[in-house]
């Protein structure tokens, strides 16, 4: 599915004037097809729109998405990028279901930028927010159905029978009356020249008859990814390519001064040239190893940032600990995101008021594929660029702005991504492509720039830190009746914007907001604090920290009020059938709610904790079982019940739950980006701990299809993990966990 793009055919920039028929017949290779599509069918053009009966209906330009080849395989250009979450397989299932073509016959690739591919109901095109399947679902079903209608139409003409006498079976049109059958591959040349029918004329398949949607269809990319054949941006090679490496300023905002040893470095083996870039020096070489070694040898006299630097300048005295203290001391009431009832009044007169302050840590994305970009200027001045990204149109627009090229002159390619977790959005100083473009222009040859792992840890954007002050009132039965949370933080969206907007940034507080518990009086607020660190989105975004805070605090409230945390949640959710069912399901999945502490078969003392979260339109509940080993938390089992409403692929969901649990455990147990004296302590995996296999928990998953509106999958299974673990640890050790990671705590062996 990830065939290497043969960038040499056709000749770069040469206008390709192929009819749609020829495009469809160009089955010689996906490589050629990919380019022909990019060159030959300018997206959003009048011609493309004329092909669709409803030019404004998203995802109706069948020819932009689908190529059915003579061998009956289906090539789908996917609006979403594949970075492990399984969206290519899911899209093949959805389109295949309505097209009536087995998903296993699909070859899926990333679609180029262009409005034809804006298929989400929101009108956005990004791969993030766990949106692809749930928001692309209606459009992609319709797309498959439209293509099937065109094939039926073509078959009717070919067989000279009314379409009403025709049916399909996977990959074929049948005429039962005459016993004749035509393959989609045979029909495609005719079918794809037909006008796209009106979307209103299409009848979608009855969900009770689904063959592939809702089934554990096997991923399309397993074999390539198990044999090293999958191609990522970092693997791209083009003719005449040079390699580049960079050394960034130790603090963002600093500029390049004198290079003390430029001549010596220039003379190092393999060095082609040395370049001064904004906030970085670069070496271009015949081999990346030469470039890296040389650029690291450059002794740069870094200059302090100018007073009017547009960048978020990293101050020389910045440290994580001091920043957290600043947040903790942030005065003021904050701006309200939610304010219901009389929180202040209840808190003022309640007999029992509980207060606690929580915080989280900065974390890196630490995706295994280091960022890279390959830029090639062609003879006609056009630019081909290969890079990992989660937002093709935004990246294209940014490249237009930086280069002054017309959008039509830029071909942006998105290969498979070696993990993203929010890493590959457009972050002003955190993407290598502007440097690659500048270097390619300077040397007049294609340049592939790879950021070393060390440069990646220096320039990656971080998940924000928050310090949250909670206050809650319990009634005389120990039930919470008022809760207040004021978070001193900067959300990722307002962080990227560089300022707080007129509205609060929902990604700052999600997980504190939107809680379903029946607590009549609540106030959730943010005290905005712009920090010195470049922040960004990290898997499950605000929920990754805020559900830890809220759910762990709720566990404290249960304990203080003399209630079991499971029973208390059942009580607070008694009017919510969906969440009550979810909560009971996770308890049942774990063999019945059994908080402990208890002695396990191996003699270790253990306890369990429980937590819930409602991220990205999906509902989740988690039970965690922990013990203490050598003074640190050992998580044995995670049971997760997840209700995304309805589903496309249960096997991929189970894999995503496993992955989200791993990241959830990683942030809960070990992971932390620490700045000391304005520098990150870790520049590689030696000092930046991520969850290792030895600390992975067994994961047990129960998928519930409640029939509610379809929710997300990639991120939702993460947020409830940390609070379930923290609550279990508190129960086992008596020590309250109010921050992550837990490696900063020392636990004595519970008896």
């Amino acid at each position: 599915m990830s065939k290497r793009i043969n960038a040499e055919t056709p000749a770069p920039g040469e206008p390709v004037n192929l009819s749609r028929r020829r495009f469809l017949l160009s089955s010689a290779g996906t490589a050629a097809g990919a380019l022909i599509l990019g060159f030959g069918l300018p997206l959003g053009s009048a011609r493309m729109q004329a092909m669709a009966a409803e030019p404004n209906a998203a995802g109706t330009q069948v020819n932009a998405f689908l190529e059915i080849r003579p061998d009956n395989t289906v090539r789908l250009l996917c609006p979403f990028i594949e970075g492990g979450q399984g969206t290519y397989t899911a899209m093949a299932q959805i389109v295949g279901e309505e097209l009536d073509a087995d998903p296993s016959t699909f070859v899926v690739e990333s679609a180029p930028p262009g409005e034809a591919y804006v298929v989400m109901e929101s009108g956005l095109r990004i791969t993030g927010g766990s949106m692809s399947v749930r928001m692309g679902y209606p459009s992609m079903r319709r797309l498959g159905a439209l293509a099937r209608a065109m094939l039926l139409q073509a078959a009717g003409t070919r067989l000279n029978v009314p379409v009403s006498e025709l049916t399909t079976e996977p990959g074929h049109v049948l005429h039962a009356a005459s016993g004749r059958s035509l393959s989609y591959g045979e029909l495609a040349p005719d079918a794809m020249d037909l006008p796209v029918p009106n979307a209103e004329s299409i009848t979608l398949r009855d969900p009770s008859k689904f063959r592939w949607i809702g089934k554990p269809v096997r991923r399309l990319d397993s074999y390539e990814k198990s044999t090293g054949k999958a191609i990522y941006a970092i693997d791209m090679q083009v003719e005449g390519m040079l390699h580049a490496a960079v050394q960034h300023a130790p603090r963002l905002g600093m500029t390049v001064g004198t290079l003390r040893n430029e001549a010596q470095v220039k003379a190092m083996k393999g060095v082609h040239s040395i370049h001064r870039l904004p906030g970085a020096v670069a070496v271009v070489a015949e081999r990346w190893w030469h470039a890296k070694r040389a650029v690291e040898a450059i002794q740069v006299q870094w200059q302090e940032a100018a007073a009017d630097s547009p960048l978020r300048v990293m101050p020389a005295d910045f440290s994580s600990v001091a920043f957290r203290e600043q947040l903790a001391n942030e005065p003021g009431p904050g701006r309200d995101a939610e304010n219901e009832g009389d929180t202040a009044g209840i808190l003022a007169k309640a007999a029992t008021v509980i207060e606690a302050t929580y915080h989280n840590q900065h974390v890196n994305h630490a995706q295994l594929e280091p960022p890279s970009a390959l830029a090639r200027f062609n003879a006609d001045g056009s630019l081909d660029i290969w890079l990992p990204n989660q937002a093709q149109d935004a990246f294209l627009a940014d490249i237009v702005k930086r280069t002054g090229l017309e959008p039509e002159k830029i071909k942006l390619h998105t290969p498979l991504i070696g993990g993203f977790f929010g890493r590959h959005f457009l972050y002003d100083t955190a993407n290598p492509f502007p440097q690659a473009i500048e270097l390619a222009k300077a040397v007049g040859r294609p340049v592939k720039l790879i950021w070393s792992r060390e440069e990646e840890f220096l320039r990656d954007v971080l998940r924000p830190v928050a310090v949250v002050k909670f206050r809650a009132a319990l009634d005389d039965k120990g039930i919470p009746v008022a809760i207040e949370a004021v978070s001193a933080t900067e959300g990722p969206t307002e962080g990227i914007a560089g300022e707080q907007g007129p509205e609060l940034d929902p990604t700052a507080l999600e997980g504190l907001t939107g809680k379903a518990y029946a607590i009549a009086n609540k106030r959730i607020a943010q005290a905005y604090v712009k920090g010195p660190v470049m922040v960004g989105y990290w898997r499950s975004v605000g929920n990754s920290l805020n559900d830890f805070f809220y759910e762990t605090f709720l566990d404290e409230l249960a304990e203080k009020g003399g209630h079991d945390p499971y029973e208390l949640r059942l009580q607070l959710l008694q009017d919510n059938q969906r969440l009550t069912h979810l909560l009971k399901s996770v308890a049942e999945l774990s063999g019945g709610w059994k908080p402990g502490p208890f002695t396990a078969e191996d003699g270790s003392r253990r306890a369990r904790g429980i937590a819930m979260a409602s991220p990205f339109g999906t509902e989740t509940a988690v039970v965690a079982e922990v013990s203490i080993e050598n003074g640190q938390v050992r998580v044995h089992d995670i049971w997760q019940a997840i209700d995304p409403g309805s589903i496309v692929n249960p096997a991929i969901i189970e894999a995503q739950v496993n992955g989200a649990v791993a990241l959830g455990l990683s942030q809960a147990l070990v992971e932390e980006t620490v700045y000391i004296d304005c520098q990150p302590r870790a520049r590689n995996f030696d000092l930046y701990p991520v969850l290792r296999p030895s600390r992975m928990a067994r994961v047990h998953v129960k998928v519930i299809e409640s029939g509610a509106k379809m929710g997300g999958i990639g991120e939702p299974p993460l947020p409830a993990v940390a609070p379930a673990v923290a609550s279990a640890v508190a129960r086992l050790t008596g020590q309250r966990i109010r921050s992550m990671p837990m490696s900063n705590y020392t636990f004595s062996q519970p008896s």
Binding site: G84, S222, R453, N658, M696
Partner: protein, 160 residues
């Protein structure tokens, strides 16, 4: 110098201390072996050198002269490697897939040396990082193989 990689001989012009990884990727154009950290921390660059799993990002190319290097590109030519790939596909292990070349190499090295490793031996051998969190699927795939490679393998009830 002359290198033996995947049972072919290559002449390469590289300094003795160049990491094997970059010779494989940039000089020989075989990109299945991945760069992750450059410090032997993550294991994405794992290859076999005389059958032993080796982190090529810190292995000087000169040190493998006269030895047999196997990369992921030749994994299916190896009888055990082929079974590992099959198990990886069967268990649907990969997510982003970036670390999986290294994981498959590590599993192959383990199972070639020890066709029926214990759970503890599997844990000791399968230490490569995976940011997607495929650890349980990897563990399941290796346990499947541990039960089925080699005649003396006893059924392992523990599973995952």
């Amino acid at each position: 110098m002359e290198l033996r990689i995947n049972q072919k001989t290559y002449k390469v012009d590289a300094e003795a201390d160049t990491p094997l990884l970059w010779v494989i990727r940039d000089d020989l154009g075989m990109t299945g072996t991945k760069y992750g950290c450059g410090l032997a921390q993550c294991g994405a660059c794992s290859v076999l050198v005389d059958g032993n799993v080796t982190r090529s990002c810190v292995t000087p190319v000169a040190s493998v002269v006269g030895r047999e290097v196997t990369t992921i590109e030749a994994i299916e030519s190896d009888e055990v490697g082929k079974q590992v790939v099959t198990a990886w596909v069967e268990r649907q292990v990969a997510q982003c897939g970036y670390c999986q070349s290294g994981q498959v190499m590590a599993a192959t090295a383990l199972l070639k040396r020890n066709p029926s490793p214990s759970t503890a031996q599997i844990q000791a051998a399968m230490v490569n990082l995976c940011r997607c969190g495929t650890y349980n699927a990897i563990n399941a795939a290796v346990h499947d193989l541990a039960n089925n490679i080699g005649s003396s393998a006893a059924p392992n009830e523990e599973g995952v």
